[in-house]
């Protein structure tokens, strides 16, 4: 089903466990002629899917903070919720992620969901950034990708694997992004997609669709990850 433009009067849910931040974001959206509600808890303890089906029903878009656990346990991160909202197969719900954690360890917990997050807005830039982010999200859900979000198939060399810490990750070279600089890639999606375990991953060549024209490594996302086939034997002998 197609994604509708967010016209004035569209209903937008703002989700942030910080009540003041939630209301501030909703206020910004109201100033832009949207009907915005703010919410700061998940009192019913809903799962992501249930939350999208129940709480988000009736809304035309979602704006969600990444960290949702300051006072009350949500059981999921904003990045997961936003990604699943945008990638909902029956009716994608345009969703934008808010964060005040770019460049911190939280970046890792966002990165594994980036494939489904067309736009991330830094909280300090919310006032000017939120409406353009919603507009872009709708465009991407309609297939109109920005150059920095357009993805294409690239080989990926796995250099090292790290399985400790909040987010398991691999240090990789995404050949289509930069042939010499290594970047952090979330490991779990690669393990799930390839069936390999972490120990088997080191030294492997993978392929994935990656938005290789992204300026910052933190903005890279990975789709359709597979194990790359070996180079043909005659490439080494001829």
């Amino acid at each position: 089903m197609g994604v509708a433009t967010l016209d004035p009067g569209a209903r937008i849910l703002v989700l942030d466990d910080d009540v003041e931040d939630a209301e501030a974001a909703a206020g910004t959206l109201r100033d832009a002629d949207f009907r915005a509600d703010s919410l700061s808890d998940n009192a019913a303890g809903l799962t992501v899917d249930s939350f999208l089906a129940d709480v988000c029903a009736g809304y035309d878009a979602l704006v969600c903070d990444h960290v949702l656990s300051r006072d009350r346990r949500f059981g999921f991160t904003g990045a997961e919720l936003v990604s699943r909202a945008n990638q909902r197969t029956d009716r994608p719900l345009p969703a934008v992620l808010l964060t005040s954690h770019r460049g911190t360890d939280q970046t890792g917990s966002i990165s594994r969901w980036l494939s489904g997050i067309p736009a991330v807005v830094d909280k300090p830039e919310l006032t000017d950034g939120i409406v353009p982010a919603l507009d872009y999200t709708v465009r991407e859900l309609r297939g109109d990708f920005s150059e920095e979000r357009r993805c294409f198939l690239t080989p990926i060399e796995v250099l090292e694997v790290f399985t400790t810490g909040e987010v398991k990750r691999a240090r990789v070279v995404v050949v289509g992004w930069h042939m010499q600089k290594s970047v952090w890639m979330p490991l779990e999606p690669a393990l799930a997609a390839t069936g390999l375990n972490a120990a088997q991953m080191e030294g492997r060549w993978l392929e994935a669709k990656v938005n290789c024209n992204a300026k910052r490594p933190d903005d890279l996302y990975y789709r359709d990850i597979t194990i790359a086939p070996d180079l043909p034997e005659d490439w080494f002998t001829s």
Binding site: L153, E157, V175
Partner: protein
């Protein structure tokens, strides 16, 4: 065609309509941006002169980006170097071949048996010979001696509308130049993109190499593709002096301002630069920036206009090697090129 300011490295884009050819892809966004600016939908020939990162490091992105199709990727094996960059280049080619949109890849030398055309442009392969390309870099060749990746790097003479225009000399050294002389290769071209960014030509004397190179090409314009500052600190003053000696009337243009010419840190004006991107523009370090060479009925035309570049140099560069008398002596910070 456009000789891009990529900082330390080389890249050139030749286009006719929406079809392009690219010779070398330095790391960074410059080639990609230029292809987008030109609306290029097909790269007919992508030539990777040799395995060094400053010539090949950006090729992965160009090869796998499905925004445009590619005819042939031309490059030679480098079994001696076997760098990670080189393996990644192979991988990019293989991925793109399987994905579609890349016709093929081939070794490149003077006897490939076909001509590399891009509309009205012709990319004449001047070097390496089939023997050198087939041998590749090696410490000990029976007759040729030591061949480095630079020695066997691919030299292309670009003809625009059947007229020789630009010699892209990659990183060739004195061994390569001697080989070219022995087979009496015609290197003459109005524009020379000087080898190895004006750095040292292997173990040979830089002044003698530069003088001979310049004599053989007889250029009207000599371009040094360099990074302002940087470890290599190019071009070498002896090289510039020798170029001036061999071609006193040639217009010398560095893509970015050399530290030998201008030691002041402040940004330089950029209103003389051509439209489009140049790596040194944002930091105010461009000298000629990216140089566009166009064949018209009147001959070759340049953008930026060469007189405007000359005016910029005389007004803003405090000790330009291309203008002031040069005493060929070592300077602080000299380092061998890479």
């Amino acid at each position: 065609m456009r000789i891009l300011d990529v900082g330390h490295g080389n890249s050139a884009v030749i286009w006719d309509g929406t079809t392009c050819s690219v010779v070398d892809v330095a790391p960074g966004d410059l080639v990609k941006s230029e292809l987008q600016r030109l609306g290029c939908v097909r790269i007919e020939h992508l030539v990777v002169s040799h395995s060094d990162s400053d010539h090949a490091g950006g090729a992965g992105n160009v090869i796998v980006d499905d925004a445009r199709t590619i005819g042939t990727v031309w490059y030679n094996a480098d079994g001696d170097k076997n760098t990670a960059v080189w393996e990644r280049l192979h991988r990019a080619i293989y991925t793109r071949k399987r994905m579609g949109g890349l016709d093929g890849h081939q070794a490149i030398h003077t006897e490939i048996g076909q001509e590399l055309h891009n509309g009205r442009a012709w990319l004449e392969v001047v070097h390496p010979s089939i023997v050198m390309a087939g041998t590749g870099p090696t410490k000990r060749h029976r007759t040729l001696g030591r061949l480095t990746a630079n020695t066997v790097s691919v030299v292309v003479k670009v003809h625009l509308d059947k007229v020789p225009a630009v010699l892209l000399a990659a990183d060739i050294d004195a061994v390569a130049l001697r080989a070219l002389e022995e087979v009496e290769s015609d290197l003459s071209a109005p524009v020379l993109v000087f080898p190895h960014h004006g750095g040292r030509p292997g173990h040979a004397d830089p002044a003698r190499f530069a003088e001979r190179m310049t004599q053989l090409v007889a250029p009207k314009v000599v371009v040094f593709s360099i990074l302002s500052g940087g470890r290599t600190n190019n071009p070498h003053p002896d090289v510039v002096a020798a170029v001036r000696k061999a071609a006193p009337d040639a217009h010398i243009a560095c893509t970015q301002v050399s530290r030998h010419c201008h030691s002041l840190a402040g940004p330089l004006p950029d209103d003389h630069l051509a439209a489009g991107e140049a790596a040194g523009r944002s930091k105010g370090r461009c000298c000629v920036g990216s140089l566009t060479v166009t064949k018209t009925d009147a001959g070759l035309e340049f953008e930026p206009l060469l007189p405007e570049h000359a005016l910029f140099v005389s007004q803003h560069v405090n000790a330009p090697m291309c203008r002031t008398p040069v005493l060929p002596m070592p300077r602080v910070g000299d380092a061998p090129g890479c």
